[in-house]
Amino acid sequence: MDRVLNVVLKSYLALFFAFIFAPIVVLVLFAFNDSRFPSLPWSGFTLRWFEEVLSDPAVRDAASNSIVVALTVAAIATPIGAMAAYFVSRWDFKGEGAYLGIVAAPPLLPLLVLALAFSVFFREAGFAASLTTVTIAHVVLAAPFALGIMRMRISEMNVDTEQAAWNLGAGRWRTIATVVLPQAIPALAAAYLLSAAISWDEAVIAWYVSGMDVTLPVHVWSEFSAKISTAVNAIGALSFAASISMIVVAEILFFGLGKRRKHEQ
């Protein structure tokens, strides 16, 4: 009975994973289909859709906008998230719960509400909708993730090493520079990549808050939400490739390959 249950459960698990990965796998697969409409029957393997979208200036512009925004967002979100993580991890203070609540709330709210709020805020504050506003909004969304990652990493670091550094003559800032940062670099890189991925993927807020220059997901959405075509598959496949590689590298950086070093404790 036990074994049957095991088999059933594991097959279910496989199905579950299949469901979650289906859109990704199928989309990528059919981006190579030599037919205008991504469906069966399979007409043959081709790269022409990739060629087509990569030479489309609108796509190129949107993609480069997305890249610039993503890199900038990550460059802002990672340090502020990391500093907040250090602050929260190493100091006890009243109102820590409230602080975390405010600071980490954005990802929990419906994207649409956030999008609307940002949109009206920027309008009222006099900021013109542009890539800058998208960047600002994305930082609000991505920074909590950076915070989460760095918190995990900092809590793993032996706090004695920091006090040992003080004890040996390093002031607060020198300790952070010479002891905390070096140990945190892989995690910082992971946080950077994660924040970048989040910005790269994000469509709803970007759509609401961007002006003439759009990011890639917005472009996909606005141009092709009604039309299904293999060309769009190609764009999607490229987008997936970028996101997935960023996430996988981030995971490797954060978790390390193989065993974790135990000596840190």
Partner: protein, 269 residues
Amino acid sequence: MLVWQCVFFIGAAIVLLLMSFWAVRDFRIERVYEFGNWTDILGSTFFWKVYLQTMLYAGIAAFLEVILAFPAVYCIAFKISSQKRRTLLMVLVVPFFTSYVVRTYAWSFILADEGLIDSALQFVGLPSVPLQGSLLAMEIGYLTYAFPLVALLVLLSLMNVDRTLIEASNNLGAGRLKSILHVVLPSARIGLVFGAAFGFILAMGDYIAPSTLGGSTRLTLSLLVIGATQAGGDFPQAAAIAVVMLVTLTVVLLLALRLAFPVRRKAKK
């Protein structure tokens, strides 16, 4: 970090709230504080119909997410070795960080008339099933959005279940299923409750699934919001609807907190 969040996040939230009170006259937004929008919305049966419909769809989504995720998560928590589990989780998390819009688009072409499933069925000679724009398609969209998060929440709870309790339960004669019902589920309650709550909240707030997969014919609050801003630039009304969503969200979270962490009565002497 607090500074940034406060300025841009809290600031935005406040403006949203304020805006819900403003009025639209002649396609211009005037900063007056009146309840016009609110009476319009709260007094409209149409609005309430959409509201309830949204609640229904989100409720179905939350229910499906938890039920469907549970066996898979149970398997991960109890049947897989720790090393494999970590790799598995690392893999599971990846789709979560790919673009939701693109994934939804992928489903739309899978489910579309003349889409993947359709042509596969035709190929085999079965009649085509109209999936595009169906409730099922929309729910699939919600699932795609929320599954990773819900699965993680439930998983965390399950991993914290005390194994010895299960052994004790088996030892006392409860079979596997009974042990699950009476020991595992209650212990995992926190994860289940929050999984359902967040599954609900995410579904309630989502715009992409209803519009792309639901065919925009099944109205949800999110569609109303976008509709308001698109058509006449009626941001105040959209803001009001958004505030309603936020209030609902808060209520759901409070309920979840209550359910997950019940206040115990003191034992009477």
